[in-house]
């Protein structure tokens, strides 16, 4: 299974600012995913990031708010822009080797916006 490292593990940010979350994988993977887990709720897919192409966003999520980079097969970033308290969540990076196999997750970034 892939080992996924996320940075930062947690942060407290002022409203109106932006935070970039980094995701590093110990092996090359085709597909990387970003999820949001709001307090007491389950995981919601934000977008799929494939190397060499634009990220694909799910309904309710837009590139201006959550820009994603995928410069190579082991790294991705998610930026949460112009933050508001409603953006307080855990953000998770995930990778999957195949279309039907299991996905593996990083430890998450706990974001609090004040």
């Amino acid at each position: 299974s892939a080992v996924i490292s996320q940075k930062p593990s947690r942060d407290i940010c002022q409203r109106g600012t932006s935070l970039t979350i980094q995701c590093q994988v110990d092996s090359q993977v085709t597909m990387m995913f970003w999820y949001r887990q709001q307090p007491g709720q389950s995981l919601t897919l934000i977008a799929t990031a494939n190397q060499g192409s634009e990220a694909t966003y799910e309904s309710g999520f837009v590139i201006d708010k959550f820009p994603i980079s995928r410069p190579n097969l082991t790294f991705s970033t998610l930026t949460v822009s112009n933050m508001s308290p409603e953006d307080s969540s855990i953000y998770l990076c995930s990778v999957g080797e195949g279309m039907t196999t299991e996905a593996f997750f990083g430890q998450g970034t706990r974001l609090t916006v004040v």
Binding site: Q6, S42, L43, L45, T100, F105, Q107, G108
Partner: protein, 109 residues
């Protein structure tokens, strides 16, 4: 739209008291059902993948089963270290994962 419903929301068990968690799903073409364990402050940890009705997987005190409409996670003789939130997810024909809200299990010594 794919739907995953987990029950109960919370489960409090005495050490050694076996129980089961339920995951009911509606999906357009199942491409896999996945169970994860999530500890507070951590990302989900993969436990099992099930692909077809009748399939079973076991790991230590955990056993996952699958029917055409639901999956069960059986915890046999649980220990306090089994305390966690257990998440169920399904992958459909578009290959995206849909997660349930989870069952939080607390095992008292």
């Amino acid at each position: 739209e794919d739907q995953v419903t987990q029950s109960p929301e919370a489960l409090r068990l005495q050490e050694g008291e076996s129980s089961s968690l339920n995951c009911s799903y509606t999906v357009s073409g199942l491409r896999g059902l996945f169970w994860y364990r999530q500890d507070p402050g951590k990302g989900p940890e993969f436990l099992f993948t099930l692909y077809s009705a009748g399939e079973e997987k076991e790991k230590e005190r955990l056993k996952a089963t699958l029917t055409k409409k639901e999956s069960f996670l059986h915890i046999t003789a649980p220990k306090p270290e089994d305390s966690a939130t257990y998440l169920c997810a399904v992958r459909s024909v578009d290959y995206k994962l849909s997660f349930g809200a989870g069952t939080t299990v607390t095992v008292r010594a």
